[in-house]
């Protein structure tokens, strides 16, 4: 092949469907790459994910290992971020905390996106009484004060990461359902869906094969933007003592236990705060950039 990959990708006259598809993706990537803030977000997000995954290698300390003689030590060569109130290495805890936080984010997204999508698509596609019923349920959950619902839910089960995840899912799905419903309604009456219906495709098949894929673009954007709010909700739950429990190095819980040091050993609560901030900002920037590219009409 004499042409380079790039030329193949940006060709105006693609020779195959695959080439067209990849060309389209490449062009989106080029648009995305041009957005420097979004790229910064992507790089930071990827870096955080990989650092979290490599935490056992990079940390150098066991995040749970206490050394009561060395409590609240200042940042030093041995302990880059200092130590906390039980003499645990803060750097290691922040790294492992990334695993907890990002793990929670992934778990929430994996549950909430399909759930919201399904409810929304069914409501949008079926219409009528099903739609009205599902939307009322959505309304109920939307009208709930989000953090309170999560708090109540966690309190009702028991504080911990698992219940925090379910609590966030419980509060996060309605907007997805709304989004998917709106998209479905706009697609439902499109000519090509009518055409598919003429070929005898069943309702579920239309929803699964034709409607859901078309909602994915806005869904991806929504998910990325939501990641930051998931991180923040998880941290708020941890902060209020209802999320991850000590000794788990979850960032919000770390701040909650360390906030009493804010006047003297300010770095102990501040460092996990910065971690939350950086992660959340990265996902926000990334989501913003993705929205510009994938979902220009929403911007």
């Amino acid at each position: 092949m004499s042409t380079t990959w790039r030329e193949w990708l940006i060709s105006e006259t693609p020779a195959s469907r695959a080439q067209a598809a990849w060309g389209r993706r490449y062009r989106l990537w080029c648009d995305f790459r041009a957005n420097r803030l979004a790229m910064a977000g992507l790089i930071v997000a990827v870096a955080m994910v990989s650092v979290s995954l490599l935490a056992p290698v990079l940390a150098g300390f066991d995040p749970g290992a206490q050394n009561l003689t060395l409590r609240l030590a200042r940042p030093s060569a041995a302990h880059w971020f200092g130590t906390d109130e039980l003499g645990r290495d803060l750097f290691a805890r922040v790294l492992f905390g990334g695993r907890v936080t990002l793990g929670m984010v992934v778990a929430v997204v994996v549950m909430v996106a399909p759930l919201g999508l399904l409810v929304g698509c069914i409501a949008g596609y079926m219409g009528g009484i099903v739609d009205r019923l599902l939307m009322r349920v959505t309304d109920v959950f939307l009208a709930f004060p989000r953090l309170i619902l999560a708090l109540a839910f966690v309190a009702a089960i028991k504080p911990g990461i698992t219940s925090a995840i379910f609590a966030i899912v419980l509060t996060a799905w309605p907007p997805y359902a709304r989004l998917a419903r709106a998209e479905t309604m706009s697609i439902r009456n499109a000519d090509f869906i009518a055409a598919v219906r003429l070929t005898g495709a069943s309702g579920p098949r239309i929803v699964l094969r034709h409607i859901i894929p078309l909602c994915l673009g806005s869904l991806v954007v929504r998910v990325t933007l939501d990641m930051s709010s998931i991180i923040l909700t998880a941290a708020a739950l941890g902060f209020l003592g209802m999320g991850a429990q000590p000794p788990s190095p979850e960032w919000g819980a770390m701040i909650a236990t360390a906030r009493r040091f804010i006047l003297e050993q300010w770095w102990v609560p501040t460092i996990p705060g910065v971690a939350i901030f950086v992660a959340s900002l990265a996902f926000n920037l990334l989501g913003d950039g993705l929205r510009d590219v994938l979902d220009p009409k929403q911007r």
Binding site: L86, K158, P159, M242, P246
Partner: protein
């Protein structure tokens, strides 16, 4: 109002956004502002209030028949009672009321008021009522048991003979506060004996009276001009501040005069700061690890002892709670009659492991420990988790909101828990009973003591605790509690850990405030500000 306004104009003459750092006015000279988490208050009615902050407020607003001498708590002195006698059979206590005492309304304090107050506590039958009704009174017979026999004399008849000091200490409890009958009955709604009104008001003869209580916001006490105890501050203002850091900040900024809930590290900083003075006193709260005997592994005596030998008491105390707790391994808190200074346990992994092997559990087992999600409970739980890990017990911590943990505890669904216990009244029986007595281990038991909650029945200790109450000889009684505690060390499913020390950090210009020990009265009547 006029003077207050004049004060304020001066105070607010400072600019809206002052750059001077002290731009926001200091608190007024005649007002004491206390920063404290006061959301535990659910009522200010002394017949009902059973929580820490409510008790403190009552202590400033009411007087009782008798109280422990604040200088020497083992001695009982009269407050409203001038003197008292006990009948030879030990069943009838007769009190003579001091002349000249007045309620906030200006009306004199009479034996009728005193009798009414105690009857009212029994009749309302709220949480603290048992402190009085354990002597045999109930709402049907109370008017015969507690009688004003004259304008200045009152008799209190008990059903069976017990140590007189026990009775007197119980009468000194918060629920023995004397309220003004006329005021209370004026506010009676549907036979509630004024309970609804008394929740947010006061009718006592103490140095202060309640001006207002706004839940989760503030309690304001105004000096009671008619009290024989003349209060120096005109007003005491409890400001609800839940966050210790916020308390610290506001103390530094002069927005509050006293911070009550600072944490160890903040106390350390405050000690080093010349702008502050500190007051501390041992509190009645004892933190303990309990082991539910319905868990087979924990029912093995060797395991219970192994756990007690595995915990690093000193390490925990010195590193996590250096100022706010002391090591305490017996159930009677230091400072109370019957307390012993024994320290039988220290961290000894070899010994603990040997005990585990003896129990046939050399490889350890898994254990769930419930604890409060607040501090320092969380840190201590983690330290204990690490300690028990060394002898092979794999601990899973289960943190919960306070009432959530207690709900599980009361339902006996826990395996093990780290909790605190404070005394109900100023007599060792309060703790001896709860830590030892379990005469009915069924789910419908009337008295659900801590021993019951851990399904632990030790007939010998139960009987000895019940017998100790009846012993009139103070010396012998003290001995009985001492030996009970020593046996408790060896046999109980409780690893007693720490006794709380209360701290108040105040600004240097504040004089005359000290924290009272063991839940006795912390009062504000002698406080002055320079």
């Amino acid at each position: 109002m006029i003077t207050r306004r004049a004060l304020m104009t001066v105070a607010t003459a400072t600019p809206f956004f002052s750059f001077a750092g002290q731009g926001w006015a200091d608190t007024p000279k005649d007002t004491v502002v206390v920063g404290k988490a006061i959301d535990d208050i659910i009522s200010l009615d002394p017949a009902e209030a059973f929580e820490f902050s409510g008790g403190e407020v009552n202590g400033n607003c009411y007087e009782r028949l008798v109280v422990p001498n604040p200088e020497k708590p083992s001695e009982i002195v009269g407050e409203i009672a001038q003197s008292w006698t006990v009948s030879p059979d030990g069943l009838v206590f007769t009190f003579t009321i001091k002349p000249g005492l007045k309620f906030a309304s200006g009306a004199p304090v009479t034996a009728e008021d005193a009798a009414f107050s105690l009857q009212r506590t029994i009749k309302l039958n709220k949480s603290p009522a048992f402190i009085i009704n354990q002597f045999g009174a109930n709402k049907d017979n109370v008017e015969k048991m507690i009688v004003a026999t004259g304008p200045n004399t009152l008799t209190f008849t008990i059903a069976e003979k017990v140590a007189p000091t026990f009775v007197l200490y119980c009468l000194s409890a918060n629920c023995g506060s004397i309220v003004e009958k006329a005021v209370v009955m004026k506010n009676d709604v549907a036979g509630d004996l004024g309970n609804a009104w008394m929740k947010t008001n006061s009718a006592g003869s103490g140095p202060f009276s309640v001006r207002s209580w706004k839940a989760s916001e503030s309690v304001i006490l105004d000096a009671n001009p008619n009290s024989t105890i003349k209060a120096k501050p005109r007003r005491v203002f409890y400001k609800h501040i839940i966050d210790p850091s916020a308390q610290q900040l506001q103390l530094q900024q002069g927005d509050i005069d006293i911070a009550r809930d600072l944490l160890p590290d903040q106390l350390k900083a405050a000690q080093a700061n010349p702008a502050f003075a500190l007051s501390s006193a041992p509190q009645s709260y004892i933190m303990y690890l309990c082991l539910n005997q319905n868990v087979p592994n924990l029912a093995k005596p060797q395991v219970r002892q192994a756990i007690k030998w595995a915990i690093d008491y000193d390490g925990i105390q010195q590193n996590i709670v250096p100022t706010t707790y002391d090591v305490q391994q017996s159930f009677v808190p230091k400072g109370m009659m019957g307390a012993i200074s024994d320290r039988p346990f220290k961290k000894d992994i070899a010994k603990a492991k040997a005990l585990m092997a003896e129990a046939g559990l050399a490889n350890g087992f898994e254990l769930v420990i419930d604890h409060y999600n607040g501090q320092p409970g969380g840190d201590i739980a983690q330290a204990i988790q690490a300690n028990l890990g060394e002898i092979g017990i794999k601990v899973t911590l289960q943190a919960g909101e306070q009432r959530q943990v207690i709900t599980r505890y009361r339902a006996r669904t826990h395996q093990s828990a780290i909790l605190s216990w404070g005394i109900d009244y100023f007599d060792p029986n309060t703790n001896a009973e709860t830590f030892c007595v379990n005469v009915d281990n069924s789910d419908t038991a009337r008295n659900k003591t801590l021993a019951w909650r851990n399904s632990w029945q030790d007939v010998d200790l139960s009987n000895r605790a019940i017998a100790a109450v009846k012993e009139s000889d103070a010396k012998v009684r003290e001995e009985m509690y001492a030996s009970m505690q020593r046996d408790h060390h060896q046999r109980s499913p409780f690893a007693l850990l720490l006794q709380a020390t209360g701290w108040a950090v105040m600004r240097k210009n504040l004089k005359g405030f000290t924290l009272a020990p063991l839940g006795l009265r912390t009062t504000f009547d002698q406080v002055t500000k320079a």
